[in-house]
Structure formats: C-alpha cells, structure tokens
Symmetry: C2
Subunit: 578 residues, 2 copies
Amino acid sequence: MLARYLPILDWGRSYTRQALSNDMIAAVIVTIMLIPQSLAYALLAGLPPEMGLYASIAPIILYAIFGTSRALAVGPVAVVSLMTAAAIGEIAEAGTAGYAIAALTLAGLSGAILLAMGVFKLGFLANFLSHPVIAGFITASGVIIAASQLKHILGVNASGHNLLELLESLWHHLPETNLYTLVIGVLATGFLFWVRKGLKPALRKLGLSAGMADVAAKTGPVAAVVVTTAAVWFFGLDARGVAIVGEVPQSLPPLTVPSFDLDLVTSLMVPALLISVIGFVESISVAQTLAAKKRQRIDPDQELIGLGAANMGAAFTGGFPVTGGFSRSVVNYDAGAETPAAGAYTAVGLAVAALLLTPLIFFLPKATLAATIIVAVLSLVDFAILKRTWTYSKADFTAVAATIGLTLAMGVEVGVSAGVILSIALYLYKTSRPHIAEVGLIPGAQHFRNIKRFDVLTHPEVVTLRVDESLYFANARFLEDYILNRVAGDARLKHVVLMCTAVNEVDMSALESLEAINQRLKSMGIKLHLSKVKGPVMDRLKRAHFLDELTGNVYLSQYEAMMDLGPVVGENAPKAAE
Amino acid sequence: MLARYLPILDWGRSYTRQALSNDMIAAVIVTIMLIPQSLAYALLAGLPPEMGLYASIAPIILYAIFGTSRALAVGPVAVVSLMTAAAIGEIAEAGTAGYAIAALTLAGLSGAILLAMGVFKLGFLANFLSHPVIAGFITASGVIIAASQLKHILGVNASGHNLLELLESLWHHLPETNLYTLVIGVLATGFLFWVRKGLKPALRKLGLSAGMADVAAKTGPVAAVVVTTAAVWFFGLDARGVAIVGEVPQSLPPLTVPSFDLDLVTSLMVPALLISVIGFVESISVAQTLAAKKRQRIDPDQELIGLGAANMGAAFTGGFPVTGGFSRSVVNYDAGAETPAAGAYTAVGLAVAALLLTPLIFFLPKATLAATIIVAVLSLVDFAILKRTWTYSKADFTAVAATIGLTLAMGVEVGVSAGVILSIALYLYKTSRPHIAEVGLIPGAQHFRNIKRFDVLTHPEVVTLRVDESLYFANARFLEDYILNRVAGDARLKHVVLMCTAVNEVDMSALESLEAINQRLKSMGIKLHLSKVKGPVMDRLKRAHFLDELTGNVYLSQYEAMMDLGPVVGENAPKAAE
C-alpha cells in the first residue's frame, strides 16, 4: 500500500553501487545542461532568473520520491513557462512582487489539481487531448515562444500573448534595436544551431558513440553562456545597452508561501487546470517513451501524484509551474541514469550552483538565454502534422488546424481549449450520423458484408441493416428516419434485420426509438429482428422488456437469421421464398 | 424548390370542401380551448393577458404557411412560458414596459435562431437533448410551474425562479392569504381535476365517442372561467381582495418592434437558444407522433423554419415565445383537423375574441387561470422516469436525476444545460473505457463470441480481442494499456488478433496507438493481426501506410484468421499447433 504511493521504496531497496555511479555521471551532465535552461525558462516566464534554478531543485527531489519514471527530469519547460507568462501576465506586471507571487500560486494550484486528479484517478481526462491537438498546440506554442524571444535578440521592449500582438509590437520597436545585442544574439543562435546540426556528426567522426555525441551537443548552451558572458564583461558591453542578467542572490531555494487570496485563486483556476493537463500529457508521453525502451511500466495516476508533489514543492520554494521535460529527460536517459536518484543528485548540483555560481552570471546577456530558448523550441515546431492529418482524416485536420490557428492568433489558452472542444464536437457529430450498411451473404461463407462493396447474396423480402455505431440519444432519431425511409419504397419487404455487431450500447433514448421503429414497422406488416446482439446490450434489452414487444426474433448470428427468414438468393434471381 | 419552403403549396392545391368543413369544426373547438389557455400562459410568463391571445394569432397563421405538420397547434406553452419568465425576470421588473419589450425581443431572437438552424440544417443539434433529460426537465418544470401558481390560488405575492425560492417566498407570505381567492382557486382546481378524470367517463356513458369525450373534457376550463367570472361580478369579490384580470384592450394584435439594443440581445442570447431548442424538441415530438398515425412525414429542418416564422410573427405582433403545444395539438387532431388551414381558422376565432370578448373577462379571477395552469402542468409531471432509467441504465438515471434536481434547485436554464452536458460527458466517459472481449469460436459454427459468456474454442498461441468501440483519442491509450497488460503475463502467445467488427472509426490518435502497439508487440516477438475491418476504416489505414508496417495480416473474417494462425483447439486441450 505504502509502496504504491512511494515508488522510492521499490527501487531504493535494491540500489547498487553500479547504479550510484551511473546516476552520478548522468546527474553531472544534466546539471550542466540545466543551468542555462533554467535561467532561460525563468526569463520566458517573465520571472527573475534564480526562480528558474529554484524551480529545478525541490521539484526534482519530490518527483524522485513520488514519481514512477526512472528517467524523467522535472523542471521548467518551454510550453508551460509560456502558459505561465500568459496566465499571470493578465494579473500583474512582469517584474513586480505580485507577479512572482502569482507564479507561486499558479504552481501551488497546479500541484493541488494534479494531486487531486491522482488521488481520484482522473488521469484518463488527459486522454481527451487528442494527439493531433497536442502536436498542433506544441507547434504553435513553439512559434510564439520563438517570436517572444526575438525582443531579447534585438534588445528592444516588446510584448503580446499571441503571434500578431508580438510581431506588431516588435515591428513598432524595431528602430530601437541595439546593435551589440543583435550581434551577440545572432552569433549565439547560429552557434547553437550549428551545435545541434553540425557538432554531433563532428564528434562522432572523432570516435564518440552516438549517445555521448548527443549528450555533448546538449551542453553547447553552456559554452555559449561562458563565451558571451566573458565578452560582455571584457568589452564592457553592458554599458553599451546590452541587457544582462545582473545581480542574482546567492542562496539556496527560499521558503515561500503562495497566495490564498480568493480572487487570485479564482482567476488562476482555468490556466492552472490547462497547465496541469498539458504538463501531464507532455510529461507522461516522455516517461512512457523512455520506459518502453527498458520494458518498464508507468502508472499514470501515480505520475499525477509525482508531478503534483513537484509543483507543490515549486510553490513553497520560490519556483513556478514545472513538468517533465523532453530534452533533459532524454539526456538523462542517454547519459545512463538508472533510477530517480539521478534527479536528486542533479538537484544537489543545481543547489550548489544557486549558492556559489550566481555571481559568475552577472554579465550573462539575456540575448544568449533567448538564443538557447529559440533553438530549443524550434525543434518542437512541426507543421507536417497538418499534412499528415489532411491525408488521414479531415476531422483530425480540422481540429489541428483550429488549434494552431487559434493558438497563434488568440493565445495558448484559447487555442488548446478550442482544440479539445472541437475534437470532441467532431467526434459527437460523426457518431450522431452513423454509417449504416445494407449487407448480404458472401457466397460460400457464413459472413455478411456491405452490398455496395462486395458481390453478395440477398433476399427480396428481407433487408439486413448493419448500424456501425452504438445507439444513443444523438443518433436515435437518425436511425428512426433511416429505417423508415429505407422501408417506405419497398413493398415486397416483410423483414427488417438489425445486425448489431457494432452496437456496443443502447441507451434509454435509443431504446425508445427502437420501440417506435418496432411499432411503426408492425403497423406496416413488417417484422423487426435483431442479430448478433452483444451480451451487455442483450442483458439490458431483456431488463426493459423490449424483447417481449419485439415483433420478430433475436438471432445469435446473422447466418441463422438468413437461414430462418428465407434462404438467400442471388440479387438477379429474386423468388418468393420462405 | 418553392414547395420545399412553402408546404402550403402542397396541401393547399388539393383542398376539398370536406377538408374545409372538418377544419372549421376543429378550429371552433380549439379556439374555445385556447382562450383561457392563452390568458393563463401570459400570466405564467408575467405578461398582460392580451399578449397571450396575440401570441396565438399571427404565429398560428405563419406556421400554417411554413410548417409541415397537419395537426400541430402553435402558441404559448407552459414550459416555454416558464423559461420566458425566468429569462426576462433577470432583466426587468414584471409589469413594466421593459419587461414586455424583453419578451418581444426574446421571441424575435428565438425566431432568428430557429430560422438559422432551419436554413443551415442544424436540426440534428436537438438530438443532443436525450429523451430522459427532456422527460426530467419537463417533470421538474411542471413542479416549478405548479408551485409558481400557488400564489394566485392563495392571493398573495410571492416570487422565485426555482422551487426553494418559491416555497420560501410562499411560506413567508402565507399569513396574507385571501380567503375568497383561496375558495375560488381550490374549487376551480378541484373542478378541473374532476373534468379531466371524471367527466370523460361520464360523457362516454352518455354515448359520446372516446375522441369527442376527450375534446369536450378539454373545454372544461371555459366553464370554470365563465362561472368564476360571474361569481366575482355578482358578489363584488374584487372589492374583497380577489385579484382579477381587469381591463384588457379590445384590439387586433398590434404591430410591435422588438428591441435591437446590443446589451439586451446579448443577455438574452443563451435563454433564447435554450428556448428554441427545448421548444423545437417538444414541438417536433408532438408533430411526429400525430403524423405517424396518418403515415405522414415531418421534415425537421422545415419545422425549424415554421417555428422560426411563428416566433418572428410573435415578436412583431405583441406576443412572446411560442411553440407547438401537446394538448392543443391533440385536441386539434382528435377534433378532425385535416390541414394547417384549421390553424388559420383558429387564428381568426382568436382575433375575434381579442377584438370583441375582452370586456367579458374583466372580472375573471387570476386564481381560475392559475387553476387551469396547475391542472394542465401536473399531467406533465412524471417522476416514474427516475425508476425506469434506474432499472435500465445508471448513466441515463444520473443524467435525468441531475436534470430534475438542478432544475428544481437552481432553475430551468441551469437544469437543462447540466442535463445536456452531463449526458454527453457520460457518453464520452463510457466510450473512453470500451468493453473489450476475448473471443473464441462457437463449436460447429463460424462465429466468435466472448469466452466468458460462451463455451468456445481457442488456441494457446493466439489471443483474439474484440474491441467494442470505435478507436479514437479518448480511448487510444486505454487500448494500448489493455493489450500490453493482457500480453505481459502470457509467454506462449505468438499472435494477437484485433477483431474490428465494432470499430467504426480509427482516428489519428488511435492510429498512432496502433502503431505503438504493433511496434511493442514486435519487440516481444508477437505479431499483430486485424480481422473484419470495415470498408471505410480499411481505406483510411491503407492511406496511412499502417498496413505496410503491420507485422501480421488483415483477414476478411475471424474464421479465416483462426484457420490460418492455428486450428482451434478446446480450452482444456492445448497443443503446439501451427
């Protein structure tokens, strides 16, 4: 019981010296990678840089205790940081104390929501975010994030929560561009792109393994940080208008308290819910991908508890909303992390950095951090999802196109909400007009297929309809109309067979429609039969006494129905059988 | 083309002398019935009595031109009048000019919504109101309406839009009860109940046909109106505190203009939408019930246009929202109405009443009108729907119980919205955790059923899973988990067959899950096969190149799959076949 809620009791018991050494090596690499990333995502969220470090310390340790993934690395990530900025930007001015407190509160709310979802096993709710909607949302968010960082590359002030606002504001401030900042920003961005595309092949040529080359390439941002910081210091560029990080307190994560102000909590509720769900979906897909490689299992409900604890930790130690990140988790995995202890060692490394190294980043230009963000998020951008869904399904395409379009035009909250609502609405619309096939017997076999697609045998007095959907309130009337229209023109008909292979459910509305169909067919002298009714549906129809009223029979198989109601004949050779 | 939008061109062309005489007789009976009813529903809506008459004149004529039902009688009805009172009570004080203008505006908006739904063929949207939700809503509305009329029976002031508020207010004002009013109200109510229950059998004993006895019983309210009005006049009870209708202008329906004030229109939008949908659903079920008896067809999209025109008519001629009423339509049908012309004659009758008879109702006590409302709506109350749904389906029960509870506790708008949302949410929840059955061959036949319900043949190296649901984003991950869990414990397995009889759709998310399942099974040395894939699903899988990646085969029938993968064996006699 305890082990269910504390996975640490499971892997902790068999922790070996070998695992310790592997976890330590992974932790060193991830720590080096996380320092610039944490600072950068704090910048993206509009918060002071140290909050990025703090958000990576307590949450990592708490996830290591409560989470089920062995490789997931928790901390600030791009999309969630953007959503944080969008949510609290509505409430307070960036840079004020109120803004920071709103960020803590958002993390606390998000933690509470995740914990509640975990305890009440509501993880399935995340399934209502379809894959294409997530892909579209992440793509659009990547574009917005990259655009939002252009101001740091140009060294100007600009703001806006959607692409149009951002571009307009940038255009307006373009004349104020600071040349020194622009040079640093462009060089850093170019260097980081090269690290990503060119360094890895170069290292592999030098004999490094693919995994290690990947890991080494991920530390590129540290080199950019070191070089540009040194350049600003040496040439005194801060005096020439290059924005720098400036003074960062030397401190372990402080104890903080989120606000319990009812107005604030109420206005952050919807953003917190969206951040929780998006963060959970992003995190669990990373965790499951990595777990599958080692045949490990992820428990979604326990993951909610792990992420909830991590966010609670962020709220009380000066952080902001966190979740499992893709690139850092992959680095952690590739660097050989075996247990969540690797995360705890990373936290120690970051705590040391927060305590000792912050004076060194005084001259770090914001343009460098912006460059690391831009390069990281552009790898998330994948407009090919539009083409893939267009080929496969117009409904999926509509949902993904709306998600991308609305996220870009109206911001993250509108975009993802619209994507979810639209994909549910499209699904409901489809099920409300089910595909109904008229079927006949495949000659020489015992199975029945669509008369429009196969050359099958039918009988002139019998029509067999296969309804390709569960029967429920949204399509009950459609079925009534369909059957009565089909029957209206055919005077020879004596039997209608509903083949129920695809009917997984008959709700009360559909039952009333079936009763109406049965009555109306009866008054026309036509019998209604059912075939291949599934167990659970049959139980329910019996309970409602529908079978007592049914004018015809219920057949176990469609073949039995056909044999009983009239031996099949070729379509071109009708005869008055039975 | 023109006849599609003007059904009058269809029946009008073959209008006979016989039809004329039948329609005239029906019109006289319906007119007599409608006079007290129209006054009463105006009272329920909080409007002056003449608006009830006006709302029954132009709308009836417009419906006769545009509607498709031969027997439907349009006008103010109980539930819609209650919803009108709830909606405009939020905006203006009853009795003020603003209140009446809001009612006109609500009718205009409702008309515009109905017309738009008709033109864009959105009638299917009404299907998302499930039968149990409607039944629950009407039951709860009936209770609220009856409670809201008690104040007129007691002769006190009371108000409230839900049951609790109403009862509390009544309790508070109980000491102010007017004894004369109470006597009139109780006698009228008792008389009308007797007319409904006792008069009909009595008339049948006197030799009237069942239909005619029914019709005669429906004119009971007129008798109550005449007697109580005379009593008030004769004994001068109005001076003793009995509330009377008072002066009603003698006039044909006036030309009125609804407000186009943006604030007013915005705040009435949601109520207008709910009134439109509820009114449409109520009306079309009456129309279809009556049409089925004579093998006539109702066109739902044209019905929307008919009702939209009727509400537009109400907005411009001093009325309020209207729809097809159940009891008046049944009376119209039973009295022999053959065409919508009967409605037009009724309108003439009511116009004459509005012009000439209004001085006669000066002394009509409001308690009598309240009695007619109470007796009419209590016949709508049917709490048995709770028991029926409880036996049949807990999901339907939950939706209906929530609808009744929330309508009583929080009013009509919250109640019906919650019912719709809850029934959709429950449906989505069910489809997100589909029933998955492991199936085997029925001995001696070629069909496959659940191994838990039937004594079937299986093979130890093959597991066949029948997923009883379409595969889409909400259940894609569930399927992944299910299959991997099922496979994990069974070392002998070499083949997993997904039997797709009930899979009507595979969306992009589910496709990605199938690809993941295929890959993971492959890494375990297990092949994934599909059987009985439906045509449309197959087309799509081909387009996405899933079949190229699939490790196994696609079989037309499950029997073929079984024959190919290993001849079936009894469950207790496993052998290493293939």
